[in-house]
Subunit: 198 residues, 3 copies
């Protein structure tokens, strides 16, 4: 863990944190978590055993990454985003759900956030969805279904409202083609499948 910065008010129990990563005040990283290189993890975050964070991720303050959540490289998690890992939660201490919570395979759903995606402030990501690479989830969106790569989704429940470049710029498609007016990257679209050209 060369050159990892851990704020003196943070609580870090993990030993698998990449170089160049910073963990800020009142954040708590549990044992067994794997965090990549060059990430920034803001104040008051919580990362649970079983969560996985790639390289170059920016995790703003107040986020909680549960077991089952994987962030690929370069993901942005805005302030106060909420992940979940159970679609039918009850207090596990209720007698009626004792069997369900006796094995993780009964309730735990994995959530995957693709490379370079951005999750806006207060977005809520339901358990079991996949967010495609470079997709953007608008602030306050409630994501109940998987999101294709490069899509912009917003609303409650979230719906596709446009498309975005790897650099974050909104894309204007003419037919099946678009060129980013900011960085010049070109895209092709077939249905809801958008891909970058070359």
């Amino acid at each position: 863990m060369t050159s990892v910065f851990i704020h003196p008010k943070a609580l870090v129990e993990a030993d698998n944190i990449g170089s160049g990563t910073s963990v800020w005040a009142f954040a708590h990283i549990m044992a067994g978590v794997r965090i990549g290189k060059n990430c920034n993890i803001g104040d008051h975050c919580f990362v649970e055993t079983g969560a996985v964070v790639g390289d170059n991720c920016t995790i703003k303050n107040g986020n909680m990454l549960w077991e089952g959540i994987t962030l690929e490289d370069g993901v942005f998690v805005g302030p106060g985003v909420l992940f979940t890992n159970d679609r039918h939660p009850r207090s596990a201490r209720l007698a009626q759900v004792h069997d369900r919570y006796s094995a993780k395979s009964n309730w735990l759903l994995a959530t995957q956030i693709g490379r370079g995606a951005a999750l806006g402030a207060g977005a809520i990501i339901l358990a079991g969805v996949a967010i495609g690479e470079y997709a953007t989830v608008g602030a306050g969106a409630v994501v109940t279904r998987s999101v294709p790569s490069y899509a912009l989704v917003k609303g409650n429940p979230a719906a596709i409202g446009g498309w975005v470049c790897q650099c974050g710029q909104t894309l204007g498609f003419r037919g099946s083609s678009a060129t980013c007016r900011n960085c010049g990257l070109r895209f092709a679209k077939k249905g809801s499948l958008v891909s970058a050209k070359g």
Copy 2:
């Protein structure tokens, strides 16, 4: 307070916490709070003097329970749920509201969460509502009115979108009857009044 677990980074000023309950890092429980047995209170929670928590509740991280909030037994509070206790908030330090905030009876509304209910991630519960027993509030729902027992509500503002069993399973009513396909519990419905049979 036999066998209460208090994380060394938590701040617990209350002395009325039931046995088997755990309080995790960076959580703050104020003096005078009453918390039942066998609860779990996650990191970064705040429980204010005047809040009441029953037995067997699961309170995920980052929750704030204000004066006026009561959780009955077996409630699940997902991550980042927001309770409130004032329908017309202003900064109490404004001259224009000095009178209003001079007495709690002018502004404080109680909120009751019924036995076994589940509040999904980021749900917002407006002051003064009651959530019926075993109801489920979907992630990101903004609850502006009371919710009947066994109802599933979602959206902003929240509306009834279905019914759920005590075990969390969605119920499919045929006419006025339903049987849970998971646990077999049977239900009767009259209008928006659902009850479990025997």
Copy 3:
């Protein structure tokens, strides 16, 4: 900083905090922040260098005030409100956005919250908007555009749903005039421009 209360579990690096202000447990105020007199800053708040807070503000728990956010005097920030300062966020560590994040002028948008305004629990305020004085943002509203003074907005995205007095009471306009039935203050309306008389 005469008579500033700083909870022993808070982390305050700023030295420009007005008298009568309290900062509660697990809150973090960064160096260079300016906070006025007689404010209350709840547990688990984070105030970033560059944020400005006026006098008599009530900032409930779990709020994060970023660079670019200004609260005028007498603002109420409910629990878990989310501010933002970038409309097209990506992880600044991505190669594709290296240029954009090399200068704040490329991405940082200021947000102004007017005197006496109230932001309900879990409201989300998009970067670059202005909230007029004494406006009220309903709990869970996602504010994507500026809000006029005295307006009440709610929903996702937020829309005007009524008008409120300085004291928080809902106003009923008859034609272009309204008198608050709580405090007697009188108002005139022209289009979406509401002003208090005398």
